[in-house]
Symmetry: C2
Subunit: 204 residues, 2 copies
DNA sequence: CATTGTTTTAAACACTTGTTTAATATTCTT
DNA sequence: AAGAATATTAAACAAGTGTTTAAAACAATG
């Protein structure tokens, strides 16, 4: 009889939550083991080293990070609607996984880490959705403001991710409770959607 | 005869660069000491502990973080111009101190750290510039889109800081060199300025 | 049941961590 | 120049780090 969740999976789950909240440097192998209710040696038995376990978690997190993006882009709708839906979904997703953007960005900044790795597969996956072609087409037809893809993604990511990343900072500055800030984010989502749509798809 | 830079200052400088690039957990006392060309014991001789030294650095960084903001807001100009100048200056500032936003946001997320501390003094300092009153007045006159101060700061900070914070991520995704991305940021600054001004100060 | 192979454990390894101590060197004051 | 105050050093401390080892517990197979 196999347990519903095997030891290996328990460790992986524990590692995910610990790594995502504290970062690679901010936790120890023993802490992960304890969070999984296991022994330290077991962590290395299944994953050989803290680094290897981390790279596993990081890769999975990176995929989650891009998941919702790809889903919306694949749908068949007018670009402007896609944008609205994307922002809606991205705010939803980030409400459930608020640690993700910080985690990804931080660990990308660790020199030892996955900086120079090949994360361009992500771009390819996004490209496969045809979103980039759609944008270029819309830009050629004058329906969308002309702008390279980097700035386009930057605009969207900035306005979706930063509000989640800066939660503690903004709470502290503006003296808000967690709940108050969460409400604020919902409000902010509306502003962001309006602003981006107006700017990217100007009416005449 | 006093040296041009005293030992205490050398350590503080070294601590600043090390802390800002690697974070509190990402470095050791000995690393800071070595970066300053000093002994480990000297670090604690002058600053008693790693934590106390860190809090010193963090506080100073936080003030830097808000410095340019306050300066521009204090000037006497139309709001729309202030916004343009602010974005210009903020991009300038962040080009010189690209590690700052990530550092601040990360360390605010460390539970042990300065999360619940009183950073609301910052808000007071900004309030002293009268910028918030100006905004409310402009909003009452219909010259500026109605929006609470939290969303206002969020909009501006998102679009100024995120592009710097996500540098390594964006480089990796879009396969850019540092120099190419720096050029991209200059381009992006233009889009951001236009977008924010158009949205916050709609014509007719 | 005996003998595989796989999982789990406690203990140890060498090394780094933050911090302290006690001795030495330097500077300042009178 | 003598003595007090300050600055600097190397060494030690206990605790924690990632990783390994070798023995035990377990499961599976013949």
């Amino acid at each position: 009889m196999k347990k519903d969740t095997t030891t290996e999976e328990k460790i992986k789950e524990a590692a995910r939550t610990v790594f995502l909240t504290k970062g690679f440097e901010g936790c120890s192998s023993r802490e992960i083991a304890k969070a999984a209710g296991m022994n330290v040696a077991l962590v290395n038995y299944y994953f050989r080293s803290k680094s290897q376990l981390f790279q596993l978690i990081f890769k999975a997190a990176m995929e989650d990070f891009m998941e919702s993006m790809i889903y919306v882009f694949s749908t068949d709708q007018p670009l402007e609607d896609k944008m609205r839906i994307f922002i809606e979904r991205e705010y939803d997703f980030l409400a459930k996984h608020p640690e993700l953007p910080n985690f990804i960005i931080n660990e990308m900044n660790r020199e030892e880490a996955c900086s120079s790795n090949e994360h361009s597969e992500i771009l390819e996956k996004i490209a496969e959705t045809g979103i980039f072609n759609d944008c270029q087409k819309a830009q050629a037809e004058g329906k969308m403001r002309k702008m390279n893809l980097i700035s386009l993604t930057l605009l969207v990511m900035s306005n979706c991710q930063y509000p989640v990343m800066a939660k503690n900072l903004m709470q502290s500055i503006h003296q808000l409770t967690k709940e108050e800030y969460d409400e604020q984010i919902v409000l902010h989502k509306g502003y962001v959607t309006e602003m981006l749509v107006q700017y990217l798809f100007p009416k005449q």
